[in-house]
C-alpha cells in the first residue's frame, strides 16, 4: 500500500489521540445548555445539549469515511500508481465519463442546499418552508440517483461493462456504494417527511431528524465531490 497511506493512518491516529485527550476531561452528565437548546433536544436526552443521535451519526460518518477512503486507496493501488505496489500493472484504461454526471452533481448540490435551507427554516419556526425545502432536498437526491442510473446505462451503451476493465468496474462499484448510502438517507428522509405531514407532529419533534439528515446530506455530497474528482482525474 502506498507509504503515504501509512503515514496518513499515523496522522489519523495522532488526531484521534488528540480528540481523546480532550474527551477524557469531559463530564457528559454536566452538559446543560440554555432553555432553547434544551427544548430543541427534548425527547432525546433531556437537558443534555448533545443528543446521542448526533454522536452516533458522527461515529457512523467516521465509519463511512473509512470505507470510502479504503476504496479510494484500493483504486489508486489497482491503477498501479502506488510505490509499494509497483508491479507494472498496465491494464488500466480510463473510461469516458458520461456528461450527465455534471448534471447529477448539480442535483446533489441543490439537494444539499435545500436541506440546509430547511434546517435554517427550523430555527425560524417556519413550518411550511421547512416542509417545502425538506421535500425538495429529497426530490433532488432522488433525481441524482435516477441520473446515476442513466450514467450507468450510457456507460454500458458505450461498451463499458463491469468486466471491461478495472476503471469501469471501480466506477460501477463506487457509484453503487455511494448511491446505496444515499438511499439509506432517503429512507430516514421519507420517514421524516411523512411525519411532517401530520399536524399532530410539532416541528420540534422532527428537528433532530432534519438536522441529522442535513449533516448526512452534506457529508454524502463531499464524498461524491471527492469521488467525482477522482474519476475525472484518472
Amino acid at each position: 500500500m502506498n507509504i503515504w497511506v501509512a503515514y496518513g493512518a499515523l496522522l489519523g491516529g495522532v488526531l484521534v489521540w488528540l480528540f481523546l485527550v480532550r474527551k477524557l476531561s469531559t463530564r457528559s452528565w454536566e452538559r446543560h445548555g440554555s432553555g432553547d437548546q434544551r427544548r430543541h433536544t427534548q425527547g432525546d436526552v433531556g437537558e443534555v445539549t448533545l443528543p446521542p443521535g448526533r454522536i452516533g451519526l458522527w461515529i457512523l460518518l467516521a465509519v463511512i469515511t473509512s470505507l470510502f477512503a479504503l476504496f479510494f486507496s484500493a483504486y489508486f493501488m489497482r491503477m498501479g500508481h502506488g510505490h509499494g505496489a509497483g508491479h507494472g500493472i498496465t491494464d488500466w484504461r480510463s473510461i469516458s465519463k458520461p456528461p450527465i454526471l455534471w448534471l447529477n452533481t448539480a442535483m446533489l448540490i441543490l439537494s444539499s442546499i435545500a436541506m440546509q435551507v430547511a434546517r435554517r427554516a427550523l430555527n425560524l419556526d417556519q413550518r411550511e418552508r421547512v416542509s417545502g425545502f425538506l421535500f425538495a432536498g429529497g426530490a433532488f437526491a432522488f433525481l441524482f440517483l435516477i441520473g446515476q442510473l442513466v450514467a450507468w446505462y450510457q456507460l454500458r451503451e458505450s461498451g463499458y461493462v463491469m468486466t471491461t476493465g478495472p476503471a469501469g468496474a471501480f466506477f460501477y462499484v463506487l457509484t453503487a456504494l455511494h448511491g446505496l448510502h444515499l438511499l439509506g438517507g432517503l429512507g430516514v428522509w421519507l420517514k421524516t417527511t411523512i411525519r411532517m405531514r401530520s399536524r399532530a407532529v410539532e416541528l420540534i419533534d422532527v428537528r433532530l431528524s432534519i438536522e441529522l439528515c442535513t449533516v448526512y446530506w452534506h457529508f454524502l455530497l463531499l464524498v461524491w465531490l471527492a469521488m467525482f474528482a477522482l474519476l475525472l482525474s484518472t
Partner: protein, 589 residues
C-alpha cells in the same frame, strides 16, 4: 446542580419492563438479554470451530486413519475454524457479549443509548452466523481458502468451495460487519454519553476502556474487510479483475487480467492486525479488573494502563504489513513495519509489568477467575515474546508459514483471550444468574485447560524451528528434512488437543448445572468495587438501577485502602472517615 443523565432520559424506562416472553427474551431490547443472546450464539458457533480443530488434529496425528477427512475437507476445516474463532466467537463474545452486558452496568446507565439498534445488531449477527453455517451445505461445501481467503486461489476451481462456499463466506462477513457497526455505534456512544454522574472517563473500569478502544478499532478496520469482500465477490461472481491476475486454472485461461492479489493482502491485513487487538484489548481490560479484584489491590498505574490501551489502538493501524514480509512487497516497507511492530511492544509490555505489579504484595485470592487471569499473564507473555521473533523481517522469513507461527498466534490471540473469557464468565456469572459456578469443576477446568494448551502449543514452537510447514494435509516421506519424530510429536499434540476439547464439556456442564443448582451468589460475592456489583437486584432487572441512578465518587480500584473498615469501597460510596478515598483520586461526583 441540575442535570439529567442521558441514561436516565426516559425515567419511566425501568417501569416499562417488557412483560411477554417474546419481548422479554426473544425480541428484547434489554442490553443484558442481548448480551446473553450474543454469548450463547457465539459459544454455539465456537463449538463448531472447536469440532473442526479436533478433526484437523485427528488427521495430523493419525494421517489417513479417518476416511471422512479428505484433503479438501481438511482445508475447509482450517478455513472455517480460523474465521469462526476470530470473528464469530471472540469478536462477537467480547464486544457483543461482554460489551453489551458490562458497558451500561459499569457506566451506571440504564441501557444502551440505542436499544432498538442493539436488538437489530444481534439478529443481524445471528443472520451472519446462519449464512456462514449454510456454507457447509452448498454444492462444493464451505471455502477452503484459509481464513485469510487470499486470492487468486480462493476463487479458482482447484480450491474447495471456490464456487459457492467463498460467496457464502464473503456474504456472511459483510452481514457480520453491518451487525458489528450497529452494535459498535451503541457501545461508543453509550460510553461517551451515558455515564452516570461522577463517572469521569478516568474513573471508568479498565474493562470498559478495553471494550471501547476495541470497538473504535473495529469500526475503523472492519470497512477494510468489507471493501475486500465486495471486490472479491465481484471477482468471483461477475468476473471483474480487482484482485485476480491473468492466470490459467487447470490448464484453461480464466479470463482474468491485471488484478493485484497483493492489494487484497494489504486490505485484509489492514483489517486483520487491528482485529488482533479487537480481541486483545477487551481481554486486557477485563483481566486488569479480575486481577485487581481478586488480589484485593488497586490496579498498578491506572493512567498508564489507559494510555497504553489508546497507544496500542492507534499503533495497531500501522503494523499490518508485518503479516506480509514474504509477499514480495517493497523491502523498505519491511523496515518500516518491523519498527512499528517493535514500538507497539512498549505499551504492551507496560501493561504486562503493571499486571505483575498489581499482584505484587496483593492479598491474592486464588479463586477460579484469578487462576484464569494469572494463566492469561503467563500465556500472553509466552505468545507475545515469540511475536518479537516474527516481527523482525530476517527472523520471520525462515519461520514464515511454519508451526512456529501457528503456536505464536494461537497462544497470543487464541488461548490468552479465551482464558480471559473463561475467567470473566466465572467472575460475572453470579451477577448474570444469581448463582455461583461450581468451584471444584472450575478448578479442574482451569488446570486441565491450562496445562493442556501448553502440551499442544509448546511442541509446535519446536516443530516450527525444525521448519515443519503449516497448512499441510499430511507430511509425505518425500519431505526429507522432516524427521520421523515429528509424527510422534503430532500424535502427542493431537491427544492433548482431544483432551483439552473434552475438558470444555465440563465447563458447559458447569454452566448448565450451576444455573439450576449453584450456590446463591448474593449481590456482590467477590466484594468488588465496580458499579455492576452494586445493583439493587441480582440479576439486575430491566433498567438496572431501580428508581435512582448511582452517583460515583471514586475510581474503580479502592481495594485495601488504609483506614477503611473493609478491604473494598464501591465506586458509589461517598467518602467519609471510614471510607476514605484511596490514591488521591478526587471525591467530587
Amino acid at each position: 446542580m441540575a442535570y439529567v443523565a442521558i441514561a436516565d432520559r426516559d425515567h419511566a424506562h425501568a417501569g416499562h419492563e417488557p412483560q411477554t416472553f417474546l419481548t422479554k427474551y426473544i425480541w428484547s431490547q434489554d442490553h443484558k438479554v442481548i448480551a446473553i443472546q450474543y454469548t450463547i450464539t457465539a459459544i454455539a458457533i465456537g463449538l463448531v470451530a472447536l469440532t473442526l480443530s479436533v478433526l484437523m488434529r485427528l488427521q495430523l496425528g493419525f494421517p489417513h486413519s479417518f476416511s471422512l477427512i479428505a484433503p479438501q475437507n481438511y482445508y475447509q476445516f482450517i478455513s472455517l475454524h480460523g474465521m469462526i474463532m476470530v470473528i464469530y466467537l471472540l469478536t462477537a463474545l467480547f464486544l457483543g457479549g461482554f460489551g453489551n452486558y458490562l458497558i451500561p452496568l459499569m457506566c451506571g446507565a440504564r441501557d444502551m443509548v440505542f436499544p432498538y439498534l442493539n436488538m437489530v445488531s444481534y439478529w443481524v449477527y445471528l443472520l451472519a452466523v446462519l449464512v456462514l453455517v449454510a456454507g457447509f451445505f452448498v454444492p462444493g461445501g464451505p471455502t477452503g481458502a484459509g481464513w485469510t481467503l487470499y486470492p487468486p486461489q480462493a476463487i479458482l476451481s482447484g480450491t474447495p468451495g471456490a464456487s459457492w462456499g467463498i460467496v457464502f463466506m464473503l456474504a456472511s462477513l459483510a452481514i457480520f460487519i453491518v451487525a458489528f457497526t450497529m452494535g459498535g455505534l451503541n457501545y461508543v456512544t453509550t460510553v461517551l454519553q451515558a455515564r452516570c454522574r461522577g463517572m469521569t472517563m478516568m474513573r471508568l473500569p479498565l474493562s470498559v476502556w478495553g471494550i471501547l478502544m476495541a470497538t473504535v478499532l473495529g469500526l475503523l478496520a472492519f470497512p477494510a474487510l468489507f471493501v475486500s469482500a465486495v471486490m472479491m465477490t465481484l471477482d468471483s461472481l461477475v468476473g471483474t479483475s480487482f484482485f485476480m491476475p491473468a492466470i490459467s486454472s487447470m490448464g484453461q485461461p480464466t479470463g482474468y487480467n491485471g488484478g493485484s492479489p497483493l492489494l487484497f493482502q494489504h486490505l485484509f491485513w489492514f483489517f486483520g492486525h487491528p482485529e488482533v487487538y479487537i480481541v486483545a484489548l477487551p481481554a486486557f481490560g477485563i483481566v486488569s479488573d479480575l486481577l485487581s479484584t481478586h488480589a484485593r489491590r488497586h490496579i498498578f498505574g491506572y493512567r498508564m494502563m489507559v494510555w497504553a490501551i489508546l497507544a496500542i489502538g492507534c499503533l495497531s493501524f500501522v503494523v499490518w504489513a508485518h503479516h506480509m514480509y514474504v509477499s514480495g512487497m517493497n523491502p523498505y516497507f519491511g523496515f518500516f513495519f518491523a519498527t512499528t511492530t517493535l514500538i507497539i511492544a512498549i505499551p504492551t509490555a507496560i501493561k504486562v509489568y503493571n499486571w505483575v505489579l498489581t499482584l505484587w504484595r496483593g492479598d491474592i485470592h486464588l479463586t477460579v477467575p484469578m487462576l484464569f487471569a494469572i494463566g492469561f499473564i503467563f500465556t500472553f507473555i509466552n505468545g507475545g515474546l515469540t511475536g518479537l521473533f516474527l516481527g523482525n523481517v530476517t527472523v520471520d522469513v525462515p519461520l514464515s508459514a511454519t508451526y512456529f507461527v501457528v503456536a505464536h498466534f494461537h497462544l497470543v490471540m487464541g488461548v490468552s483471550p479465551i482464558l480471559v473469557v473463561f475467567g470473566a464468565i466465572y467472575h460475572w456469572y453470579p451477577k448474570m444468574t444469581g448463582r455461583m459456578l461450581n468451584d471444584t469443576l472450575g478448578r479442574i477446568h482451569f488446570w486441565m485447560t491450562f496445562i493442556g494448551t501448553y502440551a499442544i502449543y509448546l511442541p509446535m514452537y519446536y516443530l516450527g524451528i525444525l521448519g515443519v510447514p503449516r497448512r499441510y494435509f499430511a507430511y509425505s516421506d518425500a519431505i526429507k528434512f522432516i524427521p520421523p519424530s515429528v509424527q510422534t510429536m503430532n500424535e502427542w499434540i493431537t491427544i492433548s488437543a482431544l483432551f483439552v476439547a473434552a475438558v470444555q464439556l465440563l465447563f458447559l456442564f458447569n454452566l448448565v448445572w450451576s444455573f439450576f443448582n449453584g450456590k446463591a451468589a448474593g449481590g456482590n460475592p467477590w466484594r468488588a468495587t465496580t458499579l455492576e456489583w452494586q445493583t439493587p437486584q441480582t440479576p439486575p432487572r430491566h433498567g438496572n438501577w431501580g428508581d435512582k441512578l448511582p452517583v460515583v465518587y471514586r475510581w474503580a480500584y479502592d481495594y485495601s485502602v488504609p483506614g477503611a473498615k473493609e478491604d473494598f469501597i464501591p465506586q458509589n460510596v461517598p467518602p467519609d472517615t471510614s471510607t476514605p478515598i484511596g490514591h488521591g483520586h478526587s471525591a467530587k461526583p
